[in-house]
Symmetry: C2
Subunit: 197 residues, 2 copies
């Protein structure tokens, strides 16, 4: 297999990602969203064609399984783009809800506008690449923690990474972020209290 052939394959590979955006249907107007604590930008199971920009506040991405169990996959604060990449790029129902944990303000755009902007503005596109890289890295890090660290370690990591949320965030949501039940978290907390004496 020679280098020339590999280069051509590489070209095909890139081509495959150039799939069709319907520029015609593109509507431009960015909307402003003001959310009270507990309100959602996006609800699990819904279709969404909007990308959000969280200007102020704090949100979590969480999903409920059929059995009613809750998992918080992301906890993040402004400023940041938020949205369901899966819902946007695959036009599928979102797998999670995005809920405001404090009063929050966001802008939103049609996903098509977002793509149109990319087709016109290289710097914009490059910035979006950087953003995607950064959230991909975060996801890898969480995957790593979930697989390799004990629940106790994940709780300690949470305390380190989100110390400002320790008091305000309900224990249930902390438990759901580290992937255990509130009962298990309670056990871990009393365990740690005993140990530190």
């Amino acid at each position: 297999m020679d280098k020339q052939f590999l280069m051509q394959q590489l070209r095909h590979f890139f081509d495959q990602y150039q799939a069709g955006i319907d520029w015609e249907r593109c509507k431009i107007e960015p909307k402003v969203h003001v959310l009270n604590k507990g309100e959602c930008l996006l609800k699990q199971g819904e279709l969404s064609d909007r990308m959000f920009f969280l200007g102020s506040g704090l949100v979590r991405y969480y999903s409920l399984s059929e059995s009613g169990k809750e998992y918080t996959q992301t906890l993040t604060k402004a400023p940041r783009l938020v949205g369901s990449t899966q819902a946007l790029t695959l036009a599928r129902p979102a797998l999670f809800s995005i809920e405001a944990l404090t009063t929050s303000v966001a802008l939103s755009f049609h996903w098509q506008l977002f793509y149109q902007q990319m087709s016109q503005d290289l710097a914009f596109t490059q910035a979006y690449v950087r953003f995607l890289e950064s959230i991909f890295i975060s996801k890898e890090q969480k995957e790593h923690a979930m697989v390799k660290h004990s629940a106790t370690q994940r709780y300690l990591d949470f305390c380190r990474d989100f110390s400002e949320l320790m008091e305000t965030l309900p224990k249930q949501q902390i438990a759901s972020y580290i992937g255990i039940t509130p009962i298990a978290l309670s056990r871990i907390r009393t365990q740690l209290k005993n140990d530190e004496q």
Copy 2:
């Protein structure tokens, strides 16, 4: 908070991702890598400034914890870009190795070349966005499965998603992909055999 202000914040947000690439040090030559089964493109703990393009073959991303336990985070086949986004963008040691599961051929480029290419070629950059989106979605899907599905379900999912690997891939690696020990996988397999009668 008015829309104008939010828009400006959005601009700042995008600006933050324009951090410095050292274009001077950029070397251009793509290299060809031919790997036998078991050889690695990238080793956990090493620095890497190369992005790979897997032209043919099959690789897995796996990491070893201090205690020697192995976790296979990704299993993927050509054609695809492969590399450690974390190692490349943060100039940190890679958290996993990338190992060929069959004889494989890849190209590699300096990461700087890759970024340089983006600064010149909008279509290239957009394609890379699409690629990043797709791997981000895969990662979300795996996260979802790891948190919400039992080991048995994850094994069944594996059988569905990688039926062509069922015979060739060592059971250990299947176990490591679904996040359990080979012993547990063996138990699950005999359990399934008994059930289906």
